[in-house]
């Protein structure tokens, strides 16, 4: 049995936005029968160029169906520029997390969205033109693998397989993936020469900036998707004081959100010493 969250189960058993939008503005199709999962995303824009309606059709397991439905919920009301910023991590976070072997389901959602937006803009992006195929079994390119490694901070070949499926078939491409991974990790290390290993002590200014950035980029979008929001009240050393807004402020799971999501993200992107506390109004 997979350890699916309640939200994954809910979105699998009662998925929202099944089907096709009539006369869609954008259509994105990714995956195939051979791969074992496939997603067809259609959307329509309103007068303000915001996504008015998004629908999906999915062939795949429970987490693929839930991820697709989550995607359609997440992009509703967004401009294409906003929607473009959405990554697989947002989809996984929206669902309260996915088993690591199932992360590729969230990646499928991100890919379908890019394909649909590209389609709207009058371009199609056939996979083959986006770099070279590394994994023949699942038709995964080096560009795709590189992007997923960077976006998700992947460190091992197994993680690459879990997220992209690359290397999950005949396994002959494992050496290529290892080499690609080594190159990207090296580049990532070199891109942060100022930080250098191990993580240097943060100046107060830098820490505040990082906290703000992380809240904006990583945390707010996910909470907003649930009808909530978060405000930064104060920073006292490594203690971050926040106030939950909207749906979050009355949510009984707020404490869990705070510790398991907000704090975890800040620990990940700022410093492991961070603790988060809620300021009640």
């Amino acid at each position: 049995m997979w350890d699916y969250t309640e939200k994954v189960k809910e979105y699998f058993e009662n998925p929202k936005n099944i089907g096709e939008v009539e006369n869609p503005d954008g259509v994105g199709e990714v995956g195939s029968l051979a791969c074992g999962d496939a997603l067809r995303l259609t959307f329509k824009l309103d007068e303000d160029q915001r996504i008015k309606e998004a629908r999906f059709q999915t062939f795949g397991c429970a987490s693929a169906i839930a991820s697709s439905s989550a995607l359609t919920e997440l992009i509703q009301g967004k401009t294409l520029e906003e929607a473009e910023k959405l990554t697989n991590k947002d989809i996984a976070a929206f669902l309260g997390g996915l088993p690591k072997e199932k992360m590729h389901c969230s990646v499928l959602g991100e890919q379908a969205l890019s394909a649909a937006i590209a389609n709207y803009r009058g371009r199609t992006i056939p996979k083959q033109q986006e770099g070279e195929i590394v994994c023949e079994c699942f038709g995964v390119t080096d560009k795709e693998i590189e992007r997923v490694i960077r976006e998700n901070g992947l460190k091992t070949r197994e993680e690459v397989t879990n997220y992209t499926k690359a290397g999950g078939g005949c396994e002959t491409c494992h050496d290529k993936i290892e080499a690609l991974l080594a190159r990207v990790l090296k580049e990532e290390r070199e891109a942060r020469p100022a930080e250098g290993p191990p993580r240097p002590a943060l100046t107060n200014i830098r820490k505040m900036k990082l906290i703000e950035e992380t809240l904006e980029r990583e945390i707010k979008p996910a909470l907003k998707a649930d009808g909530g929001d978060i405000d930064l009240i104060d920073i006292d050393g490594n203690k971050v004081l926040v106030a939950l807004r909207g749906a979050c402020s009355s949510c009984r799971a707020a404490e869990v959100t705070l510790k398991d999501y907000v704090e975890l993200k800040l620990k990940e992107f700022v410093t492991p010493e961070i603790t988060v506390e809620e300021v009640k109004p």
Binding site: F12, G36, C61, I65
Partner: protein, 391 residues
């Protein structure tokens, strides 16, 4: 919620009579059968009685029965035990559709100096016996071919295979985990040298297995320790489980007729009912030679894990050869070896019945399954496309 259990190739319910037979051997007759005192000795007698019942189910001599911990141990012991007895022979033959207990061991051996031949199967899951014959050389230590496949239920012609292997001087082992208790097995007529099976597939508990070693077969012990099992497997006998297995084998023998009539009829009804009610369905495996309890069926354009979870919500237990259920990314090695098309391999479901299943349960599944497939197909982009193209 009522549980409708149709996953008996995974494991079975321990029969209540089996549990009852075992219980006194935990806290009343807890002696060690190897002890000199009467208290232990009386247990040895019961172990011997159980051994006779196990032997009777497969028409073997009790002295040819070795108790192990599980089917996997039995398979490993058979293969290692033979290879170590023939250190000059570095070739082993098995099939692409074996259980991991054999297949992964073969892969392991192939990286350690052994040459391994994996025999292919056809679209129906059948072996080409000429290919098998041609593969055996003077170098071949052992041929290991399963009696019946766990996913599709396809039975191999083990009698014929055993004759071929014996006539060419190699040792023949069969993984009969799915066959024993489901179909009649007569080792007095079938010249297999080694045979493995497991208690929990025939209503005994998990944690007990059997390795049959034909008298006169060269065998080097796999678990090295005390003198137990005539020096063929060290370790104090798992007495309560051996007693349980003896009881389960006795019951299996009386139920063989029922298994092959009533259970087969239930399986056939389930199969026909699915074919009648649901379009685009494929039955996997040779319908002419299949275990009476097993049905592997593929629903095109939908994915197995989704089907299983929706069935599970209704209390129906089955399993799938789909990629997503196992954590691997490709569908089962058995269906791939058979060349089942991808459209169908991902949507494969295995129902495996037992004597505890009823007609009502079959009717319940036939009632609940079609809407599940319909619902998932309504979500599937391929189903829409296919119907659009057809219409």
């Amino acid at each position: 919620m009522k549980v409708v259990y149709m996953d008996n190739n995974a494991t079975t319910r321990t029969a209540p009579e089996v549990v009852e037979a075992m219980l006194p051997y935990f806290s009343t007759y807890y002696g060690n059968p190897s002890s000199m005192h009467y208290f232990g000795g009386q247990v040895a007698k019961e172990v011997q009685e159980a051994r006779s019942r196990v032997a009777a189910l497969i028409q073997a001599d009790p002295a040819e029965i070795v108790f192990t911990s599980c089917g996997t141990e039995s398979d490993n012991a058979a293969i290692w035990g033979t290879l170590n007895s023939y250190p000059d022979k570095k070739h082993l033959i098995t099939t692409r559709v074996e259980h991991p207990a054999v297949l992964n061991l073969a892969t392991y051996l192939s990286k350690r100096g052994y040459r391994v031949t994996l025999l292919p199967v056809d679209r129906e899951g059948r072996l080409d016996l000429d290919q098998l014959t041609a593969a055996i050389t003077d170098e071949t230590a052992i041929v290991s071919v399963m009696w019946a496949n766990n996913e599709t239920g396809v039975q191999f012609p083990v009698e014929e295979i055993a004759e071929i292997v014996k006539s060419r001087g190699a040792v023949f082992h069969t993984d009969a985990v799915q066959a024993v208790g489901k179909i009649p097995i007569d080792l007095s007529r079938t010249p297999v040298d080694l045979l493995a099976f497991s208690g929990h597939k025939l209503h005994a508990p998990k944690g007990i297995g059997v390795l049959y070693i034909r008298r006169g077969t060269r065998f080097t012990p796999f678990v090295i320790g005390g003198h137990q099992e005539k020096g063929r497997r060290g370790g104090t006998e798992n007495v309560p489980y051996i007693i349980g297995l003896g009881q389960a084998c006795r019951q299996a023998q009386t139920h063989l007729g029922e298994e092959n009539k009533r259970v087969r009829a239930l399986r056939d009804r389930l199969e026909q009912g699915i074919l009648d009610r649901i379009p685009n369905v494929l039955i996997n495996g040779d319908r002419g030679s299949r275990l009476p309890n097993t049905l592997s069926v593929s629903f095109e354009y939908v994915e197995g894990e989704s089907i299983l979870l929706l069935l599970s919500n209704l209390g129906i237990c089955a399993s799938s050869g789909s990629a997503c259920t196992s954590g691997s990314l490709e569908p089962s090695h058995v269906l791939r070896a058979m060349g089942v098309p991808f459209t169908a391999a991902h949507g494969s479901i295995r129902f495996s019945l037992s004597i505890y299943n009823s007609e009502e349960e079959i009717a319940y599944v036939l009632d609940r399954l079609p809407p599940i497939i319909e619902r998932l197909r309504a979500i599937s982009p391929f189903w829409k496309k296919r119907t659009a193209e057809a219409g």
